[in-house]
């Protein structure tokens, strides 16, 4: 696992090309929205980062379930713990980008950096729940206990993901719903033109590739960290 696969190198190149294409589309192809101006273009990567943030937490939840189902019978169940940590870490980074870019967009549109709207509140809870996952894990020394705890935690914490996703559809909110109908009190909604739709789709595809690539790299690092931990344990015994 430590030697870099040639498929990972290919994936690196494909991801870079897709990301550059999406960036060029956002900057030069997508039209400027006629009310909000250029800041509306933050939307393309804002939604894409939210998507892979939630995808990371979903991967962690699935890996947690598989770990719990297999850790008594299979010696290699530890790999699912490595996958879960990778998913959470990537999810945290991209959810952070999503929150900060949302706040930057909100300043000129809502005339406020932040408001305790249902979407903003639930996404903050989600981010903090997963930040706690990493902090609490760091406090457990026994690798097996740590993995078991992590698996249970990642399943429970996942409740915050659908809660965040559906918050703008369940509660009255000022956060716009771009795909589907917005609450009448939402502020900053707009209709997508075909060019905007293409740029949005390309952003989602490129960030999905970024997710897969980063996940693969982070899993490789997880295997290496596990090997180093085993070596340390052997030397101290």
């Amino acid at each position: 696992m430590n030697a870099k696969s040639k498929w990972l190198s290919v994936l690196d190149v494909v991801t870079i090309v897709l990301f550059l294409t999406a960036t060029i589309l956002v900057f030069f192809f997508a039209p400027m929205e006629r009310v909000m101006g250029l800041v509306q273009k933050v939307f393309y990567f804002h939604v894409a980062t939210a998507w892979i943030g939630m995808l990371g937490f979903f991967v962690a939840m699935v890996a947690g379930i598989i770990y719990l189902a297999t850790h008594r019978t299979r010696q290699d169940a530890k790999k699912w713990d490595i996958v879960a940590v990778a998913g959470v870490e990537i999810g945290l980074v991209f959810t952070l980008i999503c929150i900060v870019t949302g706040s930057i967009w909100a300043r000129p549109i809502w005339n406020s950096w932040w408001t305790w709207d249902p979407r903003l509140t639930t996404v903050t809870i989600m981010e903090l729940a997963y930040a706690a996952y990493l902090m609490l894990r760091a406090g457990i020394e026994d690798p097996e206990r740590r993995a078991r705890f992590g698996a249970v935690y990642s399943i429970i914490a996942f409740i915050s993901v659908p809660l965040t996703f559906f918050s703008i559809r369940i509660w009255r909110t000022i956060h716009p719903v771009v795909i589907g109908s917005s609450d009448p009190s939402a502020s900053g909604a707009f209709d997508m033109t075909p060019r905007m739709g293409l740029t949005f789709a390309m952003s989602l595809v490129s960030f999905s590739f970024i997710f897969i690539t980063l996940l693969w790299h982070r899993i490789r690092m997880g295997y290496l960290a596990d090997k180093v931990e085993q070596l340390k344990l052997r030397l101290t015994q």
């Binding site: 400027m32 929205e33 980074v93 870019t101 300043r107 690092m221 290496l224 180093v228």
Partner: protein, 49 residues
């Protein structure tokens, strides 16, 4: 018809955050991976002795 709002500064700030945080994360992955490789090498040498 009114002209679009002048939100260029917010657009620049938004994309600076996106590219900046992604770059910092990539560097962090690279540095951690390199440090782990060094640890692995050192520990394997210690184990061989």
């Amino acid at each position: 018809m009114d002209a679009p709002a002048d939100t260029l500064n917010y657009f620049i700030a938004g994309y600076s955050v996106i590219f900046g945080v992604m770059l910092v994360y990539l560097i962090s992955l690279f540095v951690r991976f390199r440090n782990l490789r060094q640890d692995e090498k050192t520990l394997e040498e210690m184990e061989d002795e």
